[in-house]
Amino acid sequence: MNWIIWLIPAFPLIGFLLNALVVRRERAAGILASVMVGLSFAATIAAMVVLEGAPSEAKRLTWTLWEWIRIADFRVAFGLLFDPLTAVMALLITGVGGLIHIYSIGYMHGDVRPVRFFAFMNLFVFAMLMLVMADNLLLLFLGWEGVGLCSFLLIGHYFDRRSVPPGINPSEAAVKAFVVNRVGDVAMLAALFAIFTNFGTLSFYDNPQLGISGYLDQAIVVAGEMVDLGAFGQLPLITGITLLMLVAVTGKSAQFPLYTWLPDAMAGPTPVSALIHAATMVTSGVYLIVRNHTLFDQPASAAPWVLVIGVMTAFIGATAAVAQLDIKRVLAYSTVSQLGYMVAAVGMGAYVAGMYHLLTHGLFKALLFLAAGSVIHGIGNYQDMRRMGGLRNALPTTFRLYFIGALALSGIFPFAGFWSKDEIIAHAWFDARSPLAAIMLILTSAVTAFYMGRQIGMVFFGRPRDQAIHGHESGVAMRWTMVTLAVGAVIGGLINLPGLHWLNSYLRPVLQEPEVIYTVGMGILATITTLLSAGAGYLGWKTYACDLEPRIRVGKEDPLFRYLGDLWRGMEIGWGLDWLYQRVFVRPYRAASVFLSDVVDREAIDQVLVDGTARGLVRLAHGLRALQNGYIRTYALMFLFGVILVVAFFALRG
């Protein structure tokens, strides 16, 4: 029954091909796409059932489709792998993905290019599934880049618009997403090269079908190897590889300092943001680290750096989210921040916790995005929160669902976010012995609650600020998908509830992580955290829904600007990394390109060296022709000159 696993990615691929080549009508496309993802979901369940039957020592299903690349000793299989880790991811992808597809049927109704949209959505699901199901790094990379491509395509869905709210050029944002991702991808490739060079394989585990051995089991073998960095001394090989992977993660999972593409990615349709830029694609970095955890478990690995990056990202993202005025941008920065949690978790070795948060976040962030989409959809495609206000009456269901999502995100007991986030914080405090990280994460949690409170206050409370906006509730398909997700957001914590540790045990074949022993200290920590969050959330709501509400107007500064000043500005532009990159990379790159093209290439190499040689010869030719002046006596003079030289040489040598 192992073959069943290739059905999982096959369905979305078929959906993509049919939608791309055959289907022409919106409804058919939407239904086809949803059905295909649904079938994929079903196949995942089936595969999980099959997986249960596998022996516990090697709890994985593999299926090699064909040998992908073979050059001498370099061999890579086009092979699929299905183990508990994959299963969890695939479930999230197909499950949440399926819901979002269904939601999109309603959301994308009347869109300019719905068929193309659904085709690309299916392609994305396929690519994402390839990412998590690959049995080797190269195939994983296929998915890795594939999701980047789909992200590019879907962000650029409105490619013919010059600007979508909030003032983003979709085609530019799409290119930016792809290019920034590429930076990470390149590091990933480098990691691949290093791994193959040192392990001689790219397979995670032994592939019996082709006789390729796996590298994850050999991690310990190369633990002591060093890479010569010349003037910079030496670097342990493992450090190098894991560092490169970390860079890859920062790109794909929108970590500091490469997160800048994610806020701009909000130029895509909202379901895209929900699926790709919240629930799935951006989590692939976390998956990558978890998959390669044996490398990160080595003493010399870059895991501490992972933690640092994660914590920084969590904090930076959260603070930036505070200052956003666009409903989706808040969520985008929030995603950055939450991804930071996950990365921090895997950075300190709490892989299950990371995965746990990945799953719950997938549920509630998807919910939030969809609800935000519902808001946007409901008020006629406005995204500026300053134009909203008081929408809880017009969009009651959406408001409730949004509120659930916000509570989950803020980590309020007993919503899903509470459990997963607190597990990370607890891990940081007790196991990783990193109180600084824990404090930062707690602080971030408070900030998270604050901006969610702020957002809810701004959007749903207060008075309607724009008379032109009349909200209406979304259709059935959209509403019920949101409800389904909301259920998940509420009870999602169950999957790894303290004491039950379902996820922990399910992932045990992959992650031999001890179950967390809960202590009183943990309870205290959780209580403090939750109280802090609740307080901050209330503060946010209070500030924006009541106290300062009259000051919120389009064209006016945000109320908090008065207190925070330039700091606010910094937060508003996502701590200015875009600004910095513009100056440090983009503009110099362009300027250098102009310089290289016009000065170096055209002038120096082509004009001076190449054509210059020709011109020099021409000048020489003119000189020569001047000598050829037409006067016989000059010719005779030259002649005599030659005679003297020849005779002198002959006579004097002889």
Partner: protein
Amino acid sequence: MNVAPLLSFMIWLPALGALVVLALPRERVAAQRIVSMSAALLALAAALGVVFFFDPARAGFQLVESIAWIPSWGISYTVSVDGISLWLVVLTAFLTPVALAASWGTVERQERTFHALVLLLASGLFGVFTAQDMLLFYVFFEFTLVPTALLIGIWGGAERRYAAIKFFAYTFTGSVFLLLGIIGLYLLHGQATGVYTFDIATILASLQLGTLQLDPAAERLMFGLFFIGFAVKTPIWPFHTWMTTAHAAAPSSGAIDIVGLLIKIGAYGLIRYTIQLFPATAAWAAPAISVLAVIGILYAAWIAYQQTDMKRLLAYASVSHLGLIVLGMFALNPQGIAGSVAHMVNSALTTGALFLVVGMLVARRGSRELKSYGGLWKSTPVLGSLTLILVLGSIGLPGLNGFVSEFAVLQGAWRSPGLGWRYALPALLGAVLAAVYLLHMYRMAFLGDAPPELAQAPDVRPRELALLVIMATPVVLFGLYPNLLFGPMQQSATQIAGGTLQYLASR
């Protein structure tokens, strides 16, 4: 096993077709098209026959045909294929009918001559890729200059005459050194063994058996002479300006041949001669050459971004690809060499097809300036999608052809003891830059809002669709099943790489 003079058939058929086409009356365009296309297709059939009879399990030259040409000089007409040349031959056979079909309706004057020149060029290229006699190789190598220069000069764009002459003079300058190298090797071999021959297989055997032992200085001199010739032809940075000029001026349908094939003969020569014949020196020179290659990758990619002329942009893209190709072969391991050859094929396919796209765009708008375009994906969705596949293939998206060869090349470079990550890592940055310039181009032309002139631009016509699909099919196919490409070249690449192993091991 020599079934029939399949290779000779393949080489000379296009030339014959060219003569027939020229003999046809000027007005009978349809007949000219039929004749030229059938010659090209027959050559393609012959090439496929070659593939059929080729035994991928063997390393050496296969399907050898040999006739004495100038016996007193040891010059013979010897043609054969090995794993390295096989796909380049097929590529030539594949692109020739495409180039011909692409010219239908776009070449306005002297169509007869155009067909004849394309066919002559095809003959020359077949000859280059199959000749296993150094002098025969040189004859074909130089012969390709003539039709190419004429193609550029007669049907090219604004600077066509300048470009044609520059192309000819520049690459000719390079190849005269090649001639010297050939003569020198011939004489050294003759003096050492008493056998005066230009046959590569014989010389190779002598080198491997040690009957011909070159002292390092002589070997480096030979290597240098061969290298200069091929480096200019390839072109390796900084010898690339002829190419960007020529490509900018080339006609779209002619350009596909030039991009696709002509520049590959330099790279092919680098493998066949500099590396295969002088492995020790190749290993000695590999770091220096690789530096040039890496510079070329980054430099060209960087410049490409700034180009407003789509053809120039693609020309720089080609230069960048060629840097990768050269880096791969000088990794001197099977991955690098096989990847390098595969990248020749892949880059020819994607870049060539993109040139076709540019031709189609020009047909719609009459301009090659990127600024004149925009939003085309809306009005021409099929063209936009197919172009996107080609662009992505060129960027090196996994699952498409560019990736596998790029990966193989870089993997080869990374693990090569002579190069290592110091070379591969900067080269890898080229992948970012490639995404930057190609997506920039795609964005400028196909995304964004459309100028009013393009709002009603017609989508692909059946002929265009057929051309693009034909070009895009291998792009996907090779991406998913690259062993089709790598399979036959396995043995040859391993064998060639084996030559350097001894040297590297001793270091």
